[in-house]
């Protein structure tokens, strides 16, 4: 067989996934070996195809799959994640149950992702998209005790929006008469194309996890394995959702101002809403999950600006987010693996025992908070610039909305930093706790290498962003950004490093000449339990949750009033209650029901005949 693109990215991962499913659960090592090989082949194939020689799509499939440089770039990123997560999982999943299920559906998720990114035909797209949903369900449900709840909720929410996707795609097919995305070019000004756009947009942002359709992410994070969270909700689902949103807004539809404003508002609400909830979380995984949601807001705002700079910023932010967010989830997994808990209150002082995890987590945390010189800063900064530009040039309503979104986005970024200070403090700094006292060693290299790699990519992308945007991301998307101002990252980097080194020197100097002594806490000569005097980070921001307006919002959120899953659940219960009245178990009623049916149809027919 000739080498083609589909072989390494779809056939081999999917085949390997199915093969693993057929193996008995007891078999060890083989599953890891198969997934590692398949993941490596996928990564190698995509790298080769992107950088050296574009691999062709073979004959019967070239009518449905089409590789563009943008999609093969995203494919490479996805394959990279797949590879690192596999590597990490070999150590993390070693003694866990349902390893077979984990590896199989990880590979199937990768194959599905490849299908979504490459497909040009609406049906291939739909099937690949749903394959990813299905894989997500099985990845999450294979987690710890109680994972079935979150997994079911995820599948229900994603299943609903997959239905909307089908509806939207079928409408697209009907109005354009075409089945290939590349041939469609539709304006959203008729009601039916607007309906189609709305349906497709909802399915895209639900996959990405924007508010108010975000609730599946925190629910699934409760009991899922961190690598499963890192691979799908944190990175691949983002890539897919934002990629699709990008395709919708820039390739398929020509969207009007109303939809643009809708996108900006959704993005803005997502940024601020999710970060506010994230601040008060006590569980590391849930905290990260809400930040995952919050970051989507920036991407949507970026794409919603509809200017090349903003769109590139949004896409760049999507790539960055996948990198640092999966790094964070992997870091949380390392912590969880060592300590057995994800409760912030029970963690603390891990920095010394787990230096690599700490450094990777720190860099990723600074990136997500938008601190220069890391990558998260650059992409946010591009989005801000694009927002300001569109405020300058747009209509009045755009001016107002754009300004509000700009302020909220900045504010959201500050809150993200605040929230990660709490997380960093609670997990890595502060005093050791019962759970963390026994942790003396770093996790194995198979776990920290992926984290450190991702963290160093954060730095690299942050420093060399201009090269990346101008020479890679710009050309492959066909967008040329106009930077109103260029951030001199290399010079700033030198300054930052100098500052860092000076700080370090001062710290070391202080340590050498230290004249104080450190003792265990005591009261009146009696040794005290250090646990009593520990300051956990969990209550850092209780003041925010007690603010007048926010208090009510938090209460509502805790009672799940803001969750569409609950709204529709209630509606469904109500409909069921009504229909159940029909089925009361009484034979006379059943008999009369049938006869009523006969009479009604008779009346209908008679009325037809009278009108004839």
């Amino acid at each position: 067989m000739d080498v083609n693109l589909l072989l390494p990215v779809i056939f081999i991962p999917a085949g390997a996934g199915l093969l693993i499913l057929l193996l008995p659960e007891r078999v060890k090592v083989v599953q890891e070996v198969i997934s590692f090989i398949a993941g490596s082949i996928m990564l190698a194939g995509t790298i080769y195809s992107f950088f050296f020689h574009t691999l062709p799509v073979p004959a019967p499939f070239n009518e449905v799959f089409r590789s563009t440089s943008f999609s093969s770039f995203l494919l490479m990123i996805a394959a990279g994640f797949g590879f690192f997560i596999t590597l990490y999982s070999i150590s993390y999943m070693w003694k866990k149950e349902r390893r077979r299920q984990f590896y199989a559906f990880l590979l199937l998720a990768l194959a599905g992702t490849a299908g979504v990114l490459l497909s040009d035909h609406i049906l291939a797209f739909l099937i690949s998209w749903e394959t990813v949903t299905l894989a997500l369900y099985f990845l999450i449900i294979g987690g710890e005790q109680g994972a079935q709840k979150g997994a079911t909720k995820s599948f229900i929410m994603l299943g609903a929006t997959d239905g909307l996707l089908l509806f939207g795609l079928a409408l697209l097919w009907q109005i354009s008469g075409k089945v290939l995305f590349s041939e469609m070019h539709i304006s959203t000004n008729t009601w039916i194309s607007g309906l189609s756009f709305t349906a497709l947009m909802i399915s895209a942002i639900t996959k990405a996890g924007a508010m108010p359709f975000h609730t599946w992410i925190p629910a699934s994070s409760e009991a899922a394995h961190p690598p499963a969270m890192a691979v799908l909700p944190a990175s691949l689902d983002k890539v897919l959702g934002i990629f699709f949103l990008f395709t919708l807004c820039n390739r398929i539809f020509v969207i009007g101002e109303g939809f643009q404003i809708a996108l900006l508002v959704i993005g803005c609400i997502t940024i601020i809403g999710a970060v506010l909830i994230a601040m008060v979380q006590h569980d590391l995984r849930k905290l990260l999950a809400y930040h995952t949601v919050s970051q989507v807001g920036y991407m949507i705002v970026g794409i919603g600006t509809l200017s090349p700079l903003g769109i590139l910023g949004g896409l760049f932010h999507m790539i960055n987010n996948s990198i640092y967010k999966s790094c964070l989830f992997l870091g949380s997994g390392a912590v969880g693996k060592k300590t057995g808990t994800f409760e912030l209150g029970k963690l603390g002082g891990l920095a010394k025992a787990m230096p690599f995890t700490f450094i990777a987590f720190l860099i990723a945390a600074l990136s997500i908070s938008g601190i220069p010189p890391f990558n998260g800063f650059v992409s946010k900064w591009m989005i801000y610039q694009a927002l300001l530009e569109s405020v300058k040039s747009g209509t009045l309503s755009m001016n107002i909305i754009g300004t509000i979104v700009f302020i909220v986005a900045m504010f959201g970024s500050a809150l993200t930093l605040a929230s990660f200070i709490k997380a960093l403090y609670s997990v890595f700094l502060g005093q050791k706790t019962e759970k963390t006292q026994t942790v003396l060693k770093e996790v194995s290299f198979a776990m920290w290498i992926p984290m450190m790699t991702l963290a160093s990519v954060c730095v690299l992308l942050g420093v060399f962003y201009l090269f990346f945007i101008r020479n890679i991301l710009g050309p492959i998307t066909g967008l040329t950004p106009v930077f109103p101002g260029v951030w001199e990252s290399s010079f700033a980097m030198v300054l930052i490093f100098t500052g860092f080194i000076i700080g370090l020197l001062i710290y070391l100097a202080g340590k050498i000449v230290r004249s104080s002594r450190v003792v265990e806490p005591y009261i009146g000569g009696e040794q005290e339990n250090p646990e009593v005097h520990r300051v956990p980070g969990t209550d850092f921001y209780t003041v925010i949750s007690n603010m007048p307006v926010l208090r009510n919002i938090y209460k509502g959120q805790a009672k799940e009033y803001l969750d569409p899953f609950e709204w529709f659940g209630k509606l469904g219960d109500w409909i069921i209650m009504i229909f159940k009245k029909i089925q009361n178990g009484l034979l006379p009623w059943y008999l009369s029901l049938s006869l009523i049916g006969l009479v009604i149809s008779l009346v209908l027919f008679l009325s037809f005949f009278i009108t004839f």
Partner: protein, 505 residues
């Protein structure tokens, strides 16, 4: 001569039924062997004659006086479905029925029911159809009551009363048609109606048929017996009832009469669409609230039959309104494909529920948990069937629902398309619920010692699960040509059926 084996489809099960009653009263083994051999031979026969077409004249008498049996693409499809599910159910019964007494009666009734269904889908004569329909129905009343407990008897009684109402209405309809045209032979009636045009009495007869066969097919609002009857029967019988009986004696007859005898028009088409949507929506919302596994499955049968009727009615409606023949064929394809798929995954689900009930002793979802670990084969096949019925790719149910949705959207009926998707979503919700409570989660204390079912019970599960995975290929153009195209042709040609029958005589 292919036509000469047609009588075997009724003769084999009928003969086997009486034979079992004669020889197997004391011991169970001969009954197992005879029943399985006869269903197996029926399946083989139905596959052998899948490509064959022809008319068999009983006793050599020519219609309209004589009774003829017609083998066309539509009948072939049903023969395969009936006999495929029969063999799975009988294999499953070997171990499952061990705890029941009077198993010979069970097999006798089972085979009578099979004979009745095979007769219904083969016959070309209205009254003959009624006779076979009654054979199958009465056997099924008795089978529902087979457990003999209070619940089973009550369900069977309800089913009996409503089923008899349906039969009476059908008989009345047949009498009216006979009075109007002077024929009982379907081809002759069709010819007479197409020359005289549809009159008001025909319409009245058609309404009686809709109600009568609607009761047999459990379409809303004639569905009310099904949720009691299907769960009460032993699991293999539930699989037969939901998997094939409602289709063979309900849907098949309805479609045959409306398309081939009366000829489709937009009023009938609209009626079928309306009933289809009602069944889909009401059935699924009743299903999702259930906590009894078999009851939940039974309600889903109503909903899924709605899909079938919607797809086929939509096709008829489009043709009657002079719409695109391609879209109409697509709708027929979706409906028939879904019918085929439904019989596979619904039988599988009922057999799984039987396997679970056999191992755990309960049908309540809340009392189960962690069964995927305890019963890996049943759990896996149940997962596959659940995903199939929920319409998740790459399983078979996805393709047929997709085709129905696309047909509706291409015809411009966006609301129908949307409702179809919505119902599919609610189906997904209810099967996620099934999986969440029965297959996943912690193993509850009482179920700690649960073991996987014996091989003979698991075998049909695996076979049907493989079909669920593999049947997606039927959606491929080349395969559809062979498998479903002949049946679609019968629907598209409609009243030309008469010409076909007379040419084959």
């Amino acid at each position: 001569m292919m036509n000469s084996i047609l009588p075997l489809f009724v003769a084999i099960p009928l003969g086997a039924s009486f034979l079992i009653a004669l020889v197997s009263r004391k011991r169970k083994l001969p009954a197992d062997i005879i029943a399985n051999l006869s269903t197996l031979s029926l399946l083989v026969l139905s596959i052998i004659i899948f490509q064959a077409r022809g008319v068999y004249k009983i006793g050599g008498w020519l219609p309209p006086a004589g009774i003829n049996w017609v083998l066309d693409g539509f009948s072939n499809l049903f023969l395969v479905i009936i006999n495929l599910i029969s063999i799975c159910a009988t294999v499953f019964s070997i171990k499952y029925m061990k705890h029941y007494t009077g198993v010979y009666k069970y097999y006798s009734l089972f085979l009578l029911m099979t004979a009745g269904m095979n007769g219904v889908v083969l016959t070309g004569d209205m009254f003959n159809l009624f006779v076979f329909l009654e054979i199958a129905s009465i056997a099924s009343y008795a089978l529902v009551a087979f457990g003999g407990e209070h619940e089973e008897l009550e369900a069977s009684f309800k089913y009996l009363v409503l089923g008899s109402l349906g039969s009476i209405l059908i008989l009345l309809g047949i009498a009216l048609v006979y009075g109007m045209t002077g024929y009982l032979n379907m081809a002759s009636i069709s010819k007479a109606i197409s020359s005289s045009g549809i009159g008001q009495v025909h319409i009245f007869a058609a309404l009686l048929f809709i109600t009568g066969f609607g009761i047999k097919a459990a379409l809303v609002p004639f569905h009310s017996w099904l949720p009691d009857a299907h769960p009460s029967a032993p699991a293999p019988i539930s699989a037969m009832l939901s998997g094939v009986l409602i289709k063979a004696i309900g849907i098949y007859s309805l479609i045959r009469i409306f398309f081939n005898v009366f000829g489709m028009n937009s009023i009938f088409g609209g009626m079928l669409i309306g009933i289809g949507i009602l069944s889909m929506v009401i059935g699924v919302f009743l299903a999702v609230g259930q906590w009894d596994l078999k009851r939940l499955l039974a309600y889903h049968s109503i909903s899924q039959m709605g899909y079938v009727i919607l797809g086929i009615g939509l096709g008829g409606f489009i043709i009657a309104n002079g719409g695109s023949l391609i879209v109409a064929s697509l709708a027929f394809l979706g409906g028939l494909f879904h019918l085929l798929n439904h019989s596979v995954f619904k039988s599988l689900l009922f057999l799984c529920s039987g396997s679970i009930e056999n191992a755990t002793g309960t049908r309540q979802l809340k009392e189960m948990g962690g069964l995927l670990k305890k019963m890996p084969v049943t759990g896996t096949t149940c997962t596959i069937a659940s995903l199939s019925i929920a319409g998740v790719p790459p399983f078979n149910g996805f393709w047929s629902k997709l085709i129905i949705v696309i047909a509706a959207m291409q015809a411009g009926y966006y609301i129908i398309g949307f409702v179809t998707i919505l119902v599919s979503f609610v189906t997904l919700v209810s099967f996620l619920k099934v999986m969440r409570y029965s297959l996943w989660g912690p193993v509850s204390g009482i179920l700690a010692n649960v073991k996987e079912s014996p091989v003979l019970m698991v075998l049909p599960l695996v076979l049907l699960a493989l079909l669920c995975i593999g049947m997606g290929v039927i959606a491929l153009p080349g395969v559809t040509e062979v498998v479903l195209k002949p049946a679609i042709e019968v629907l598209v040609r409609g009243a030309e059926y008469a010409g076909y029958v007379f040419s084959q005589l």
